[in-house]
């Protein structure tokens, strides 16, 4: 495994994904804010949550990039469309299983069944994260396609 390449492009693709999601939020296409959602697991302070969540999100991006790279090694090739394909599967997982699991794992997220409580007040994402806006799935898919495509296009498999 080419560690330098994986660390570099794992970081770059995570930054691009975060930027695309933040851009979608800024353009009012979605209210989904993954750093904020991750950060509020640790603190109720919004400013601090954003900072903590950003760090966690970058680390998770790096971690997930290793799975992409493992797949490239398994196939013995890395192309933008292979990366994008994995990104599509990744996005589908995040939007379906990930979003469904989140209220159960997040200490400040309300459940759809019980509603908000003193401790749990954050709006849950719902199926396909549609609670955060009907264009949310598109934003998530586009961001993950870009994440995978960058990894596939720029990750360099070590020479045999």
């Amino acid at each position: 495994m080419n560690w330098t390449s994986s660390l570099l492009w794992g970081f770059v693709s995570t930054i691009v994904l975060t930027t695309l999601m933040a851009g979608s939020q800024g353009m009012r296409l979605t209210r989904m804010n993954l750093p904020y959602m991750l950060g509020t697991i640790f603190t109720a302070n919004r400013d601090r949550a954003n900072v903590i969540g950003f760090g966690v999100h970058v680390m998770m991006g790096w971690l997930f990039s290793l799975f992409y790279i493992a797949a490239f090694h398994a196939w013995d090739r890395a192309t933008w469309w292979l990366g994008a394909s994995i990104g599509l599967v990744h996005a589908a997982f995040v939007l379906t299983a990930g979003m469904r699991l989140l209220p159960g794992m997040h200490p400040r997220m309300a459940s759809e069944q019980q509603g908000p409580t003193v401790m749990r007040q954050l709006e849950p994402p719902g199926f396909l994260a549609l609670n955060y806006g009907y264009q949310t799935p598109i934003s998530v898919v586009v961001a993950h396609l870009a994440f995978g495509a960058i990894l596939g296009a720029f990750y360099t498999l070590p020479a045999r």
């Binding site: 009012r28 209210r31 509603g115």
Partner: protein
């Protein structure tokens, strides 16, 4: 349709809502004061509202909880009585860091005091000035969601919802003595929404908000006549001060008419530089130093963006408002059309704003602030601009759309600008200043005003050079120190203004002009009349009597609009109006100082402390 004075305002220093005596919220813009409306029924029956009221006929008394902007409406029916508490919850920065709170919320609590009362709630949001599509869904435990193109409204209530339709929500509940019901409406446009629980959490939000407002009001140092009215006015100013920037909007509404059925309908959800000096003096005078500093900081930051030219109005972040637009689908308040959003006056030339900004900065220096080098350069640049342009015609303080002229008030404010700059320089607060140029221009302006703005036939100062019209802004000549309030000329001018612009019972029109017939008496001008007496134009007793008469024109919760109908006392124009409340506060401050034997308006500039003096200031 309710009258303007039937409304009370609630707010959270970012946005505001108008609550009618009948329990209907008929105006709300989220997330900012100048955002498109979500409830706009005050301007059109189809533009959205949120009502909460008994299902049977009722009578109402209401008031704010003491020293807060939390409204309580006591409703009596034949079968019992309930108390409706309305607020936009607020919290301290510390509480925001430790608690999970919604960005934007209106909280309504109904408590039954006696008997049994059935209450009904109707929510009909119409976002984007009723131009946007919405989708309403009942999501069970999470409440009712109103998906809008640019955000989410979430309604949570423990009332039984008996109808969710495409256009709104209906709910009702029968309360018996001791019972309560809750309704919370939150808005999220940026992040996942925070959905607050009801019951004890709601009561805690009320307690937190009451404590926050009272803690703020406790800083008001004023101890003079009509303290309650002054504190209420201060609370209005605080509510209208946009917390993230410190800007104070003129009013939270648009197009409430200055003349019923007429077209004098303007958008006031912006910040006018014209109001700067008077607002800053009011805030400093009350001891609201933090708010005054924040406002001056906004003022200086904003004016840097366009210097040395100044626009006359900006939005809360210092940007130029969007182009003026009329909402043709709105019927207007009691048929007063057009309904406008944006304000084309932004493009006008008002030379008085230079004097206002510089005088505001001078007020700040009087309270101990020092001017950094960049601000010194900027203020000096304004002075040079005034020297180049003071003799040009401008639209003047009242922003008529009828064209420019040589306005006396603008000339006097140009004089004020140079006079204050020279004072600041003399006391070491300004470094390099073209002293001779400023002194000569100041003198030329004074001579011209004394010569050409004094009408021998009228025996009075007049609104425009070489003219014969009168204008209530002439009363400010004494306020700015251009004339002594006791001078023969000022006394005669005051007498002519009362004679020609008096609307009875102490009220004053701002002017009598053919291009604005039928508008009401102007709130702040009336207070200028009382303050002129306090400045020395009359006795203390005369001043106090005039002030007390004017205070009685407030509505039942102490709020003023821009204007008043002299015949009925009804409020006219945008509501509540910061400028009118500023006039009330300043008149009260001048009265209190005069009563204490102090000079009503402080003019002296203290020397700059030697240790903070800039090298060039010593040169």
């Amino acid at each position: 349709m309710n009258a303007i004075q039937d409304y009370a305002v609630i707010g959270d220093c970012r946005s505001a809502a108008l609550v009618a005596r009948d329990g209907s919220i008929d105006w709300l813009c989220w997330p900012r004061f100048d955002s498109p409306s979500i409830f706009g029924r005050i301007l059109d029956d189809r533009a959205g509202f949120w009502s909460l009221a008994p299902t049977t006929p009722f009578t109402v008394t209401r008031s704010y909880l003491e020293n807060t902007n939390v409204l309580q409406t006591r409703v009596q029916t034949a079968s019992g009585s309930v108390v409706l508490t309305d607020l936009m919850p607020v919290a301290s920065e510390e509480q925001k860091r430790t608690l999970f709170l919604p960005d934007h919320e209106i909280l309504r609590i109904v408590e039954c005091e006696r008997g049994e009362v059935e209450v009904q709630m109707r929510l009909e949001p119409r976002p984007g000035y009723a131009r946007q599509q919405i989708r309403i869904r009942d999501t069970g435990a999470l409440g009712i969601r109103v998906d809008m193109p640019h955000g989410l409204l979430a309604l949570r209530t423990d009332m039984s919802v008996d109808g969710v339709a495409d256009d709104g929500v209906r709910a009702r509940m029968t309360l018996r003595s001791g019972q309560a019901c809750y309704a919370s409406l939150t808005f999220a446009d940026d992040w996942p929404a925070v959905l607050p629980p009801l019951g004890a959490w709601s009561r805690e939000a009320v307690r937190r908000s009451v404590a926050w407002w009272r803690d703020w009001a406790a800083h008001i140092t004023y101890d003079g006549p009509a303290r309650d009215a002054v504190v209420r006015s201060a609370l209005v100013l605080k509510l209208l001060a946009y917390a993230p920037s410190g800007a104070v909007v003129a009013a939270p509404t648009t197009s409430l008419p200055e003349r019923l059925g007429g077209d004098l309908n303007w958008d006031y959800r912006f910040c006018w530089l014209r109001d700067a000096s008077l607002t800053v003096r009011a805030l400093f005078g009350l001891g609201c130093v933090e708010e005054a500093d924040a406002f001056i900081s906004w003022l200086l930051h904003t004016t840097r963006l366009t210097r040395p030219e100044l626009r006359i109005l900006y939005d809360v972040h210092g940007n130029t408002p969007d182009d003026e637009e009329t909402l043709a689908h709105f019927g207007g308040f009691r048929g007063s059309r057009p309904v406008r959003i944006g304000n084309a006056a932004a493009e006008q030339l008002q030379l008085d704003v230079y004097g206002e900004v510089i005088d505001a900065a001078t007020h700040s220096v009087r309270t101990g602030a020092t001017l950094d080098r960049e601000t010194q350069r900027m203020l000096c640049g304004f002075g040079e601009y005034v020297c180049r342009h003071w003799n040009q015609p401008d639209e003047g303080i009242w922003e008529p759309r009828s064209g420019k002229g040589h306005n006396t008030h603008s000339r006097v404010l140009c004089w004020t600008a140079l006079d204050r700059l020279l004072q600041l320089h003399e006391k070491g607060h300004l470094g390099h200043v073209p002293v001779r140029q400023f002194e000569e221009t100041r003198e030329r302006i004074r001579n011209e005003v004394q010569l050409r703005a004094w009408n021998v036939t009228r025996d009075s100062y007049v609104a425009r050079l070489d003219g014969d019209g009168l204008d209530a802004s002439l009363l400010l000549l004494a306020w700015y120190g251009f004339e002594d309030a006791r001078s023969d000329r000022m006394r005669k001018t005051y007498a002519r203004v009362q004679e020609h612009l008096g609307a009875g019972n102490g009220l004053l029109y701002r002017y009598r002009r053919t291009d604005s017939p039928g508008e009401g008496a102007f709130g702040i001008c009336s207070f200028w009349g009382a303050e002129y007496l306090a400045l020395g134009g009359g006795s203390i007793d005369e001043a106090e009597a005039a002030f007390a008469r004017l205070c009685r024109y407030a509505n039942d919760v102490g709020l003023f609009a821009e204007e008043l109908d002299p015949q009925t006392g009804a409020a006219l124009g945008n509501f509540p109006q910061a400028f009118t409340h500023v006039g009330l506060i300043n008149a009260a401050l001048s009265l209190a100082r005069r009563r204490q034997g102090d000079r009503p308006v402080e003019r002296a500039v203290p020397p700059r402390p030697p240790e903070s003096r800039h090298p060039e200031a010593r040169a």
